[in-house]
């Protein structure tokens, strides 16, 4: 449905997008996820026709739309700060896209009124048609913006940080509601977010972006379980990043030795192991496998227990259940066996200077964990 091919865009000397290609299928809801400055909003604006790429092309339903202006592109765009017309009522805001059509295509006044009221009831704003934007709450404004974008029956709905300016509670409600709305309308949608939870919860597919490039495209499960790059590992969820040595198909993290068959050909190289806290199994000496580690600190956080351990000179964070915590009777100073259920290794040479922001950044992160 939407096909972006080798898109590049620079602002002055800053490369906002660097050879980005992305394919979005009909009816799909895609999240563009990344830190600020990763180029996600630029990509969205290029899809919407509000920016034009320096090179590369954008195709809509197979037809080249690269140079088609936003006016003729027929997309719905929801802005981060809503951009409602402040001097118009809610009704006039939603009706705007229909009223500005040429006389031939414009629906009659009655039809416009009917469609606006239908949209307003869909976004649960019946009865607020005559209010002005300044008289609405943030969540209500966001829904007006959505109704306004949907009024022109766009081919695709583009949302720029749709929940960014709302407080946590409203945000959660609104994103479930958006997901339901998408499932009902079956409209193709792309939204930009820097919130991983939002991306994983709402989207069918997540596009992780960093420094103007796409790091990984996949379903939320794929992205979370099989991160393709160290950046994705660190950006999504909590992770232990541990310096290790990779020798002949094995990875050594201090005293802990794990199989790393994909690096069988590597004789001896420095690497980094990524292990999720909840992938670390803890057991009593004699009851399981792994290496000895010493418990440094235990904190109970609701349903999970966070355990800080030292493994040789490394400090590792593990997560375990309340029940397991009770069985093991974890306490600072205690020796336990530690085994990662799964881990991923990256050679330092392989990613240095490409995907992770800097080695210092990594050092800081692993020191933090």
């Amino acid at each position: 449905m939407i096909d972006a091919r080798n898109v590049r865009k620079t602002f002055g000397s800053f490369a906002a997008l660097n050879d980005v290609s992305l394919n979005i299928a009909e009816g799909e809801l895609v999240a563009l996820l990344g830190p600020s400055g990763s180029g996600k909003t630029t990509l969205l604006r290029i899809l919407g026709g509000l920016e034009f790429p320096d090179s590369g092309s954008v195709l809509f339903d197979g037809g080249d739309a690269t140079l088609v202006s936003a006016r003729d592109r027929h997309v719905g765009f929801v802005f981060q700060h809503y951009a409602l017309f402040r001097h118009m009522t809610v009704f006039d805001n939603v009706a705007f896209g229909l009223k500005v059509r040429s006389r031939k295509e414009r629906p009659s006044k009655a039809e416009i009124a009917e469609r606006v009221h239908h949209l307003l009831s869909m976004v649960q704003l019946d009865g607020l048609a005559l209010r002005y934007p300044s008289q609405l709450s943030g969540g209500q404004r966001q829904r007006v913006a959505l109704a306004r974008a949907l009024a022109i029956q766009p081919r695709v709905l583009l949302l720029d940080e749709p929940f960014g300016a709302l407080d946590a509670q409203v945000r959660k409600e609104l994103r479930r509601w958006l997901r339901r709305l998408h499932d009902e309308l079956k409209i193709t949608g792309v939204f930009v977010t820097h919130d991983q939870e939002e991306a994983l919860e709402v989207a069918d597919r997540v596009v992780v972006m960093n420094q103007g490039r796409i790091e990984q495209i996949g379903t939320p499960t794929e992205i979370y379980d099989q991160p393709a790059t160290p950046f994705v590992y660190q950006f999504l969820g909590n992770v232990n990043a541990l310096p290790c040595r990779i020798r002949g198909g094995q990875a050594e993290i201090g005293p802990l030795v794990m199989p790393a068959p994909s690096y069988a050909g590597v004789a001896d190289a420095a690497g980094v192991a990524f292990v999720r806290p909840h992938d670390l199994l803890l057991s009593r000496p004699g009851e399981g496998g792994g290496s000895f580690a010493v418990v440094r600190h235990v904190s109970v956080l609701g349903a999970v227990v966070r355990v800080e351990l030292s493994l040789g000179e490394h400090i590792i964070e593990a997560e375990t259940s309340r029940q397991r915590h009770a069985e093991l009777e974890l306490a600072p100073g205690q020796r336990v066996l530690l085994w990662p259920r799964q881990a991923r290794f990256f050679l330092r040479d392989g990613w240095e200077g490409t995907t992770l922001e800097s080695r210092e950044e990594l050092a800081r992160t692993s020191a933090m964990l």
């Binding site: 026709g49 509000l50 409602l84 705007f96 500005v100 059509r101 002005y132």
Partner: protein, 291 residues
């Protein structure tokens, strides 16, 4: 934006005052004294002198042929100069606030030139350019076009001097509003013309009106630039301020003050309209701030 600043200043005033009573009283008295001495007293004098020989003489001075011609000319100049500057100012502010281009700071500087150059100099420049001995003088004479010492020159000088008023008022307003609403409108399929009239203009209308008010007051009151290019032909190229000067130089004080009282009245009306706008505008600004 001047209006916004005044409003926020008015809001702050109540909280900022922590001085003792007598300091407050002294400062207020000082303020009132200065205001009275420099603003109210001259104003009273103008009207006092104007009516010094009674109301009949006052009105007689106003319906004098030359006075009427001056009033007509002043109105004509304002009617031409103000709309022109509304268009120029709106276009220039639109360009500066909504687009990014290389010569932007140059354009902003150009807009400010009439404020930084003495009006007499700007008038003189027109004389040097379009006067008989000026650069374009011979060409204009050959084509029988008379700019200097004629009405077109007066209009030109007035347009130049009053150019910054509308633009200066609109640029900060438009910049603070950003381009998101226009972008939203274009994505919804609106044409540039439609966006300008249905989205941009309603958002800037109060600022625009304020700019027009100031522009108009200056267009009617301008003396320096107009004085240089007018040639002071009674009943033909004399605007009200110039007519006041002529009458005054002829020791016809009463008539001079009578015409001057009209200009003073204009200033008062402008002031009242401005106050009304601030009052009207404050609610919309508060609404915008809540958004």
């Amino acid at each position: 934006m001047a209006i916004a600043v005044e409003i926020s200043a008015a809001r702050r005033r109540s909280r900022a005052v922590s001085e003792t009573l007598w300091v407050k009283g002294l400062l207020t008295a000082l303020g009132v004294a200065i205001l009275g001495l420099f603003l109210l007293l001259p104003l009273a004098t103008v009207f006092g002198e104007a009516f010094s020989k009674g109301a009949d003489a006052y009105f007689a001075a106003l319906v004098d042929d030359d006075a009427l011609a001056a009033i007509r000319l002043t109105l004509l100049v304002a009617v031409i100069a103000v709309p022109l500057n509304v268009v120029f100012g709106a276009v220039a502010s639109w360009c500066i606030a909504k687009f990014d281009f290389r010569a932007k700071s140059l354009l902003i500087t150009l807009i400010d030139i009439p404020f930084s150059v003495s009006p007499v100099i700007s008038g003189l420049i027109y004389v040097l350019l379009f006067g008989l001995q000026g650069w374009f003088g011979p060409w204009l004479r050959d084509h029988d076009i008379k700019l200097i010492f004629a009405v077109p020159g007066i209009v030109l000088a007035t347009v130049f001097v009053t150019f910054p008023f509308v633009a200066r008022e609109l640029i900060p307003l438009m910049e603070s509003q950003g381009t998101e609403e226009e972008e939203a409108a274009v994505v919804l399929g609106a044409s540039g013309w439609r966006i300008f009239w249905t989205v941009t203009v309603p958002n800037i209308k109060w600022g625009l009106l304020y700019g027009v008010l100031l522009c108009n007051a200056r267009a009617m009151g301008e003396f320096g630039a107009v004085s240089v290019v007018s040639g002071h032909v009674r009943g033909v190229t004399n605007t009200m301020p110039l007519h006041v000067e002529i009458l005054y130089n002829e020791y016809n004080y009463m008539a001079a003050f009578a015409v001057a009282s009209l200009l003073a009245l204009l200033a008062l009306v402008t002031l009242a309209a401005k106050a009304l706008l601030v009052w009207r505008f404050s609610r919309e600004i508060a609404a915008d701030a809540r958004q």
